[in-house]
Each structure stands twice: as structure tokens, then as C-alpha cells.
Symmetry: C2
Subunit: 143 residues, 2 copies
């Protein structure tokens, strides 16, 4: 059993963040020692690592909470749990990931649009700046 700062070291999340995640419901409350200190198991650590994986996908804490509503499925599978029984959870997960991917795609389109606009504007200022430089040099080749 691990303390919060040991879990912090092994997951890269600060104790602050771990407690915060607990508060907002993305992590469930761990057992406590007599003194009241949190006491985490190995499987809780791997759950958090799994969670970190989803954060890397840019998912919000809300999405992640929803994703994990049935616990850490990958672990259950590794423990040899019946695949058929997990089917609804798996379906929900592919659904959430599909939706997330669609959001990312939308974001990318949006980003490409504003990049195109930025390039346009940049080209305009660039052309003006060049014109200004020429005028300064007195060359004034055109006209």
C-alpha cells in the first residue's frame, strides 16, 4: 500500500492533483490508514496511468470520468475476466473515443481555416512591408 506522495512520484500527478481528481470524481476514494491518510494499491496506480493515457489524448476530466464509469477494463481483461461480460463497457468506450476523435477532427479543420486566414493576412502585410521598403530606398521601380 502506497502513500499519496509515492503515487504522485509514480504517476507524475501532484498530491494536489490527486486529491483534486478525487474531489471532482475522476478518481474514487482510496482506503485510509488508521490516521486517516490515503492508502493506494498497485491497481489504483495502474488505473491512474491509464487515466494519464487518456489525458494525453486531450480528453477532458468529464470525458475521462464517463469513460471509466465501469472501472479499468484493460485490467479486468488481463485478469482473465470474461470478455462477453465486458461488451457493453467496451462499446461505450469505442463510442466515447469515436466522439472524441470527431471533436479533434473538427478542431483541426477550424485550425486549418484560421491558418489559411493568417497566411492571407501575413501575405498582405508582407507585400505592404516590401512596398514600403522600396519606397524608402528611393528606387520606386514601378511607375
Amino acid at each position: 500500500m502506497l502513500t499519496i506522495s509515492q503515487v504522485s512520484e509514480r504517476t507524475g500527478l501532484s498530491p494536489y492533483t490527486l486529491r483534486y481528481y478525487e474531489k471532482v470524481g475522476v478518481l474514487k476514494e482510496p482506503k485510509r490508514k488508521e490516521g486517516g491518510a490515503r492508502s493506494y494499491s498497485e491497481s489504483e496506480v495502474s488505473f491512474i496511468q491509464c487515466l494519464n493515457g487518456l489525458k494525453r489524448l486531450g480528453m477532458s476530466l468529464e470525458e475521462i470520468t464517463e469513460f471509466f464509469r465501469d472501472g479499468c477494463v484493460m485490467e479486468k481483461i488481463q485478469q482473465g475476466e470474461d470478455l462477453a461480460k465486458l461488451s457493453p463497457s467496451l462499446n461505450k468506450r469505442t463510442e466515447i473515443l469515436t466522439k472524441h476523435l470527431a471533436e479533434l477532427e473538427a478542431k483541426k479543420k477550424e485550425l486549418e481555416t484560421i491558418m489559411a486566414l493568417t497566411r492571407e493576412k501575413l501575405a498582405m502585410y508582407d507585400a505592404l512591408a516590401k512596398g514600403a521598403a522600396e519606397e524608402k530606398n528611393g528606387s520606386g521601380a514601378r511607375e
Copy 2:
């Protein structure tokens, strides 16, 4: 001369937002009427429209403030101001836009990375879900 709500209608920014922009320094203080009410000119409206253009590029208020430190150059040009005199402003603007574009490109790369990761994870869950469905159907073709 226009009131704040007239400017709001013509620019799509709420009076709240206009006052907020003034407070954080992206808009400069307009003239006041006797009563103390803000009184905007047409050129202030076109400045704000220009500002909206930059917002559409995803620029932060801080970047926009910096961009407009020398006023609305496009307008000065239209008013026939000497292009050579504006050269430093124009150079600064192309510089800011170039930097902004680089940031957008970085963001896009990042986004592409997490999209690839998401697709991977999705493929995995998808495969598992299919496997679970097969097991449920009793077919169990393999093994």
C-alpha cells in the same frame, strides 16, 4: 458619434466586452459626452472590426494589443499616409503574424499527434469489442 450599444450592434461585441477591452488596454479610451457616456467615432468602429479579424485568427488579446500598438495601419494607408513612414509598424506586424502562424503550426502538429494516438486506442477497443461480440454469439470461430 456613436454610443456603446450602437458600437456593440455594429461590431458584435457586447458593451461588457467593449468596456473590458478598454480596461485591459486593447482598446483605447474613447471620448466622452457631457454626461460621461462613451462616444465612439466611425474610425473606432473600423478599428474594432479590424480587431475582430485578428480574433478570428485565434490571436490572444495580448498579441492583438501588441499588434495594434501603432494604431490601425490599414486605415492610415487608405488615408494616403506615406508608406515609408509606416515601414517599422508593417515589419512588426509581419513579425507578429509569422510568430502566430508558427504557434498555430505547432498546435496543429500536437493535434495530429494526439489524433493518431486516439485512433490507435480506438482501434484497440474496437477490436476488443468485436471479440467480445463474437464470444457472446457463441460462434468462437477461432480455437
